[in-house]
C-alpha cells in the first residue's frame, strides 16, 4: 500500500529528541493496558465463563491453573490477577482523564502533568484495596 515508510529518508528529528514525562507514560500505558486486556484479559474472561457453563470439573481446571493445592493463588495467579486488575484501574483512570482532554480541557502543562500522576495514584490505590479485600477473605 501507498504509505509504507521509505527507509532511505530520515525520520522527523522530534522522534529522537524527547524527554519522558508522566503524560507520555500515561499515553503509552493506556494503549498497552487496553491491548493487553482486549487479548489476555478477554481470553481469560471467556475461559472463566465457558468453564462455569461446562460445570464444576471444568471450573476446577480453571481454578487449578491459578491456585496451589491449598487453594491459595500461585505465582501465575498473582501475576495475572494483579496484572489485569492494575491494567483495568490504570486504563480506567487514564480513560476518564481522556474524557476531559477530548472535550478540549486540561491541556495546561501543570494540570496535565498532575492529572497524569493522579491516574497512577488512583490505580495503585484501587489495585491495593481490591487485593486487600480479596486476601482478607481467603486468609481470614
Amino acid at each position: 500500500m501507498a504509505n509504507v515508510r521509505n527507509t532511505a529518508r530520515p525520520l522527523s528529528p522530534h522522534l529522537g529528541i524527547y524527554k519522558w514525562g508522566p503524560h507520555m507514560a500515561v499515553s503509552i500505558i493506556h494503549r498497552a493496558t487496553g491491548s493487553g486486556m482486549a487479548t489476555v484479559g478477554t481470553g481469560l474472561f471467556v475461559w472463566w465463563l465457558v468453564a462455569l457453563a461446562y460445570g464444576p470439573d471444568a471450573y476446577a481446571t480453571f481454578l487449578d491453573t491459578f491456585t496451589l493445592s491449598n487453594g491459595k493463588l500461585n505465582i501465575l495467579g498473582y501475576l495475572v490477577g494483579v496484572g489485569l486488575s492494575f491494567s483495568l484501574f490504570q486504563h480506567m483512570g487514564s480513560g476518564v482523564r481522556h474524557f476531559f482532554l477530548d472535550a478540549g480541557a486540561n491541556f495546561e502543562l501543570r494540570a496535565n502533568k498532575r492529572s497524569a500522576l493522579a491516574t497512577f495514584a488512583f490505580s495503585i490505590l484501587a489495585t491495593a484495596t481490591f487485593w486487600v479485600v480479596l486476601l482478607e477473605k481467603a486468609h481470614g
Binding site: 478477554t42 465463563l49 480513560g95
Partner: protein, 130 residues
C-alpha cells in the same frame, strides 16, 4: 438526514466520512465500560467465596446475568474499535486488512461464547442464589 442543506449533509462526516461517528461510539462505550467494570470489580470483591456453586449461583440472578451481558457487549464493542485503531497506527501494508478481519472474527466469537455461557449458567443453575 435526507438531501437536506449542504451543511446538514456534511455534518458529522469529516474527511474520513465515518471516523467521527466511530470515535463517538467509542466514547459512549467508554462510559458504559466505566460503569459496568466498576460494578464487576466491586461485586467480585464483595462475593463471600469463589467456588463453583457460589459463582454460578451469583451469575444465575437476573440482575447479575443481565449487567454481565451488557458488560460483554460494551467491552467487545470498545476493544473492537480500540484494537482497530492500534492496528491502523502500526500496520501499513496488506497485513492491516488481514488483522482487522481477524479482529472482527475474534470479537464476534468472544461475544457469542460469553453470552451463550452466561445464559447457560443462568438457565441451568438451580438452588438459592449467593
Amino acid at each position: 438526514m435526507g438531501n437536506g442543506t449542504r451543511l446538514g449533509r456534511v455534518r458529522g462526516l469529516g474527511s474520513a466520512h465515518e471516523g467521527a461517528g466511530e470515535w463517538w461510539k467509542h466514547k459512549v462505550s467508554s462510559g458504559s465500560n466505566l460503569l459496568l467494570t466498576l460494578w464487576l470489580m466491586v461485586s467480585v470483591a464483595l462475593l463471600p467465596a469463589y467456588d463453583f456453586a457460589t459463582i454460578a449461583g451469583w451469575i444465575a440472578q437476573p440482575l447479575v446475568a443481565v449487567p454481565l451481558i451488557l458488560l460483554v457487549l460494551s467491552v467487545t464493542h470498545h476493544f473492537r474499535h480500540g484494537l482497530q485503531v492500534v492496528i491502523e497506527d502500526y500496520q501499513h501494508d496488506e497485513s492491516r486488512f488481514v488483522l482487522i478481519v481477524l479482529l472482527e472474527y475474534f470479537t464476534i466469537t468472544v461475544r457469542v461464547l460469553a453470552i451463550f455461557s452466561i445464559l447457560k449458567i443462568a438457565f441451568t443453575t438451580t438452588g438459592v442464589a449467593a
